[in-house]
Point group: C2
Chain length 158, copies 2
């Protein structure tokens, strides 16, 4: 009811507030994955299931954020699974139609409302503005949105 009564000025203010709110949840890619895996159908479900090493090309503006990472470090790469379908709420786990439909939050499906991927990888090599990392199941061209160190024996994938 309040919304219907609001005049033009309040409407405009609402639009600005909404724009600021949206900007608040806006991810900025920090780089991109370069991999020999080119399509979802080629990709293993998890990095530990035979995935290759890959390169993470860092946006030059983000290079200072990498300071302190070293070869041999275990890190969590957070990706934006850009081919994920965001309107999927339930899936058959591991694409197996024999398994019952399950909410995506109880699975690692790349199809989910916010298609974020978590990948535990090891840093293999560091070059200017790029890291070799693996094993990684993300496909070529996947945007990266965050990197975090693994803490005390932590493990994470997909």
């Amino acid at each position: 009811m309040v919304l219907k009564k609001a005049g033009k000025k309040k409407g405009a203010a609402r639009k600005r507030t909404r724009a600021a709110h949206i900007e608040g949840f806006q991810l900025r890619p920090i780089g991109v994955i370069r991999s020999t895996i080119k399509t979802r159908s080629e990709a293993p479900k998890q990095g530990s299931e035979g995935a290759p090493d890959a390169w993470f090309e860092v946006n030059p503006s983000m290079a200072p954020c990498m300071d302190g990472l070293a070869v041999g470090n275990d890190i969590i790469v957070v990706t934006w699974l850009h081919q994920g379908k965001r309107d999927v709420l339930k899936v058959h786990p591991r694409s197996d139609p024999q398994r019952r439909l399950t909410g995506v939050f109880a699975t690692r499906s790349p199809d989910r409302p916010n298609p974020l991927g978590l990948h535990r990888v090891t840093v293999r090599a560091i070059e200017k503005n790029r890291l070799q990392i693996g094993p990684l199941e993300a496909i070529d061209g996947t945007p990266v949105v965050d990197i975090k160190p693994v803490l005390c024996g932590i493990q994470e994938s997909a």
Copy 2:
């Protein structure tokens, strides 16, 4: 140079493309954390450092995504650390000025270009459209953007 030469029509097309690109990286909150921790200064650095249990209130439209989660499950909660400063590229680890400035991707600082938090928690209770989870160091009002099951002995926090 190409950008300067582009006419109005191409400019409009570019704006649409840019809008679509931005929408592609737009997170939609799936719910919110309700916690007794109200400010960053009260919050421990990690859940394992004395954090309390908290409630995750799920947006009703996302309820089907929860199907399959059960009490006792270990899950990764991905949060949007809404008070994080996005222009910070380096920090002193654990806010200790004695430690040298380090790139945020080599730390778990909530101040980072995309302020995503990863929290490994256990599901303590499930009620209609909310989960009790813990231990969790995220502050009251923190938006949640994804939930993933922990795979085979995986551990993750912050």
